[in-house]
Amino acid sequence: MIRVDIRARSFGSTPVLGAIRLTLGAGERVAVLGPSGAGKTTLLRIVAGIDTEFDGSVTQPERTAMVFQDPTLLPWRSVLENVALPNAGLPRAAAQAMLARVGLEGKAALFPGQLSLGQQRRTALARAFAGTPDFLIMDEPFVSLDPAKAEEIIALTEAMLDEHRPALLFVTHSRAEARRLAHRVLTLDGVPAVLSG
C-alpha cells in the first residue's frame, strides 16, 4: 500500500502543491495529467523520496523504482552494470535476461553513449523492472521519441507492467497514454496545485 499525504510544498514564498491525498493499492496504476509547470514532477519527486522539503508524509514500499524523464544512466558504466548496480544483489544472469527482455540482447557491454535514445530508455526500463519493484514511478518516460519508437516502448512498458504487476504512479501529458496504461487518471492543476479525478 502506498500512501501520499502532502499538506503543502512551496519553493520559497511560491506555493506549488496544495493538499494532496493519494492511496495506491498493490498493482494499482494511477496516471497524473496536468499542464506544464503544474508541479507533476515535484509530486513524483516527493513520492519517490527525492524531495523531502515538504509538509506531510509518504509511505512507500521498500522495493521502489523510478523511470526518469531523461534515462539518467551512468555514462561511465556498461549497459549491463547500469541495470545491475542500482539493484543490489541482482545476479548477472538476471540483468542479462532483463536486457534481452527489453530488446537489448548483445548490447550489455556497450556504454550508454553508444546507444540511441530509444535504447537508453529501454535500459532505464530494464533497470526499473530488474529489481521486481512493488512500486514503480515514471516521469514522462516516452517524451522526445518519434511516434513509432514511442509506440514500441509504450507497448513494451504495458507488457512488463502486466508481467510484474507493480503499483504504478506516472506522469504524462498524453491522455491516450494515461488511459492505456493506468486504471485511474487524475489531473493536477491550480495554484497551489491539487489532484482531481
Binding site: 526518469f68 551512468l74 561511465w76 543490489a88 533497470r127
Partner: protein, 250 residues
Amino acid sequence: MRGRAALTRILSLLMLVALWALAARLTADATVLPAPGALIAPAWAEIASGELPYHLGRTFIRVFWAFALAMSLGAVLGFAMGRFPAMDRWLDAWLVVFLNLPALVLIVLCYLWIGLNETAAIVAVTLNKVPNVVAVVREGARALDPELDAMARVFRMSPATRLRHVLVPQLAPYLSAAGRSGLAIIWKIVLVVEFLGRSNGIGFKIHLFFQQFDVGMVLIYALSFIAVMLAVETFALQPWERRARRWRAP
C-alpha cells in the same frame, strides 16, 4: 593512434635536447651550460656509485607520502566543501589564507615548529598542496549531476556503491587535474624542503653542487627526477586516465 602520440612525444623531447645542445654550443662554456652529451659519463658514475639512486629514492619517498596525504585530505575536504554550503562558508576563508601563504613560509614554520626532521618535511609539502586539491575538487563536487544523485537515492544504492560508481567517476577529471598539477608542484616543493633542511635527497645534492658551482651535476640530479616523473606520468597517470575516459570514446 597511441603509437603516433608516443612518437610525437619522443620527437618533442628530442627537439628540447637539440635546443639545449644548440644553446650549449652558443654559450661555449661548459661551466655555464654543458652540452647534453657531456653529462653522460658523470651521470653514469653517479648511478654506478649508488649515490644518485639513493638520493632519488629519498626524494621519491617524500614526494609519494606528500602526494598521497595531500590528495586524500584535499579530496575529502574539497568534496565536503562542494557538497555542504555551511562547511564551505566556514572553511572558505581558511582556504584563501592557505592558498596565498607562500610555500617558503610554510616550510620554514614547519621546520621551526616540528624540527628539522622527516615529519616536518612531509607536513610542509602536504600543507602546501592541500589547498590546491581542495579548490579543484570543490568545483567537481559542485558540478555533480543532481539527477544521478536522485537515481541513487530512489534505488537505495549503498554508500559504497554510490561512492565508487556515481561520485568518483564524476570527480575523476577533477582528481586527475589535481593529481597532475599536484605531482609537478609537490616535487618542486620537496626539493626546496630538502634544500633548506634535509641531509639527503635531490634538493640536498643540488644545494651541495650549487655551493661548488657545478652546473653539470645540478642538471644531472634535476633531470634524473624529471625522468622519474615522466615515467610516472607515462606508465601510471596516463593509463589510469585512459581507463577512466574509455566511456567517452566514440
